[in-house]
């Protein structure tokens, strides 16, 4: 870290060494940081030519890769709001042109898209709420030494992380439980998540136990302690659990594919997949319905297979794009906690 954080003027690395040096000095002084002219690090950096070349390549690599990660989303978004004819002809690559919002209004006229958006939203909200509550509750309960065979039951739950019966047995099981073709098949299997329980339990173990003891002296039972003391204190970790679970629910595709045949229960991801494979017929469907109701559909806003695909893709990705930058630290924390679990 020290290597990287010394210079605040990294954006200017392409410039000559001398300019970099002066800028760094002035910035450092302004920032009030002590200046060490004899700092070997600065000397090395200032003189090494190969290092500058390396820095330039490094920045070019990262700029390119970052562009590759970001551009596809940008491409989808500008194409979904641009002139549909130009978009279909592949002319919209850098800037939107002929901006209009018709596509978004029209795709919701497609059979089942609104319903599937509700299903996806519903499973995300309900599924996340349930798994957050269950993880918090179990994570807390498994810290209670008094519980009858606590260690055994804890391991009983955690060990399920390491084996998997497989796709077909899971399908047969869901069918035997009469869960196929119901909304609950989306949320119930995800309620008890061993990994989340480990996260919460580890977090609760870091809370001083004197808090709970004090509450017990005052006559509070476990449930009161859980609701009044532990749950509020666990908010940071529960935010992490919630955000991972919500993204997982929103992105989940396989369960619809396997357990659901009723089209009213399709998730948005599944609908997107279907539309990707049959967008041309859907464009006709939109054209037909638009023709009957509106009569006037200019060429620019007439739906094409391309416009429909891109618009639905944007609808599916937008929640993630909006949520992700604000909650990035929770994601990172979850990842880090997951790594040091044990």
């Amino acid at each position: 870290m020290s290597v990287a954080s010394v210079s605040p003027a990294a954006a200017t690395q392409v410039k000559t060494a001398a300019t970099v040096q002066t800028r760094r000095k002035s910035k450092k002084n302004r920032g009030g940081a002590p200046l060490h002219p004899e700092d070997p690090q600065q000397r090395i950096r200032q003189h090494s030519h190969g290092e500058n070349v390396y820095n330039v390549f490094n920045i070019i690599f990262f700029a390119l890769f970052t562009f590759l990660c970001f551009y596809p989303f940008y491409y989808l978004i500008i194409n979904s709001i641009s002139n549909n004819a130009m978009s279909a002809a592949g002319q919209i690559n850098w800037w939107p042109s002929g901006i209009h919002w018709d596509n978004y209004g029209k795709v919701f006229q497609l059979d089942g898209l609104g319903e599937s958006a509700l299903i996806s939203l519903g499973r995300t909200v309900i599924g996340t709420a349930l798994t957050v509550l269950a993880s918090a509750y179990l994570g807390f309960m498994f810290t209670q030494q008094k519980m009858w065979h606590r260690q055994f039951w804890y391991r009983f739950v955690i060990i399920t992380m390491y084996f998997n019966a497989g796709l077909i047995p899971a399908f047969i099981c869901m069918r035997n439980l009469h869960l196929t073709n119901t909304f609950w098949v989306y949320v119930l299997p995800a309620v008890v998540q061993p990994f989340n329980i480990i996260l919460v339990k580890t977090f609760i173990e870091s809370i001083p136990s004197s808090l709970q003891e004090a509450a017990e002296v005052d006559g509070a039972g476990e449930l009161t302690i859980f609701g009044k003391i532990i749950l509020p204190m666990c908010q940071p970790i529960l935010a992490t659990v919630a955000i991972f679970s919500a993204v997982g629910q929103w992105n989940s595709f396989q369960d619809t594919l396997i357990y659901i045949t009723d089209s009213r229960l399709y998730s948005l991801q599944y609908v997107l997949y279907r539309y990707l494979n049959q967008a041309s017929s859907l464009a006709n469907q939109v054209k037909a319905s638009a023709g009957s109701t509106l009569n006037v559909a200019s060429l620019a806003t007439q739906q094409t297979p391309t416009s429909i695909r891109m618009t639905i893709a944007v609808i599916v990705v937008l929640p993630i794009l909006f949520v992700y930058p604000f909650f990035q630290r929770y994601f990172v924390k979850g990842m880090f906690l997951g790594a040091v679990k044990g």
Binding site: A10, W148, G166, T306
Partner: protein
Amino acid sequence: MSQQKATDAPATDQAKAATVQPSLATAMAATSKPTESLESVKEYQEKRRKAEGKHHWNDEKRHGFHLFLLVSPLLLFSILFSYYPLFGWVYAFYDYQPPIPLSESKFVGWQWFTMLWSNPTQLRAIGQVLLNTFGISGLGIITSFFPVMFAIALNEIRSKWFRNLIQTLTTLPNFISWVLVYAIAFALFSSTGMVNSVLQNLGWIHKPIHFLDSGSHVWLKMWAWSTWKGLGWGAILYLASLTGIDPELYEAAQVDGANRWQQIIHITVPQLLPTYFVLLMLSVSNFLNNGMDQYFVFQNAFTQEHIQVLDLYVYNIGMGQNSLSLATAISMLKSVVSVILLWAVNTASKKIRGVSIV
């Protein structure tokens, strides 16, 4: 589990001892005659305390069981969705045709398992599937050091806002579904997609290149998509470990005249190795579990031969061709091998580094 029993045994012994003592004491207290009032008060107090102690112990036990009862509804979820499906493995030993219930299906023993290698057509199919699984997983493992390099290189970028921007944007693809990745692939690489139309407009090609609907370089393309999706996110863990390195190490190295490259090789890399090792071991144990989503969405008539990994194959024959028993047999083998792999990798990890990874 055995540990659990071992630790439980002394606890119950103590508990028994605790039950015996107070009851003896109370019995003795009851038989002894109260001669003086002071003594009787003392005795009474002792009796009460002992009785309370006994009562307290009972309470504790009941309380512990009560706690268990409070948890049990959620344990039921674990049983239903993780343990109960294991029961589905019995379908691998029957000739199960969906509308006919299991009880009326014919018991065939290990027939589905032996069929996997006795039938030449089946053997060729499963061989190709295994080859694909090994190929795609192998590519992932060979390039598993990419996130390490990514993190080290990113750490060399000095501007904080630029580093943060890179980190945010490169981790974004990790959070979109494979369906959406396919939507992107379709928008950019289909025969009417952006790449083809740009290349054609430039006059570099005259016929569209088949990126998605061709059977060549499928493993490599799948690897490229997973890397696109996972590289930035994979680096985050290493970036976190990088911040934990003691700056004094670098200062000492600089005093010794080490340049940046030497610092990376001799300080940064060794510090990241433990994390890398654990993740490598985990990916080895997941060798057979490629997941299905990615290969399912990119699957088409052209790519199918080289894209079918075990997970997808199980889906295709189970749900697509409706041979649930054969699919179950393959799933079952896969699960068992995976657990063995995990165990082996864990044992190896304990031997090599003295650290358990699970």
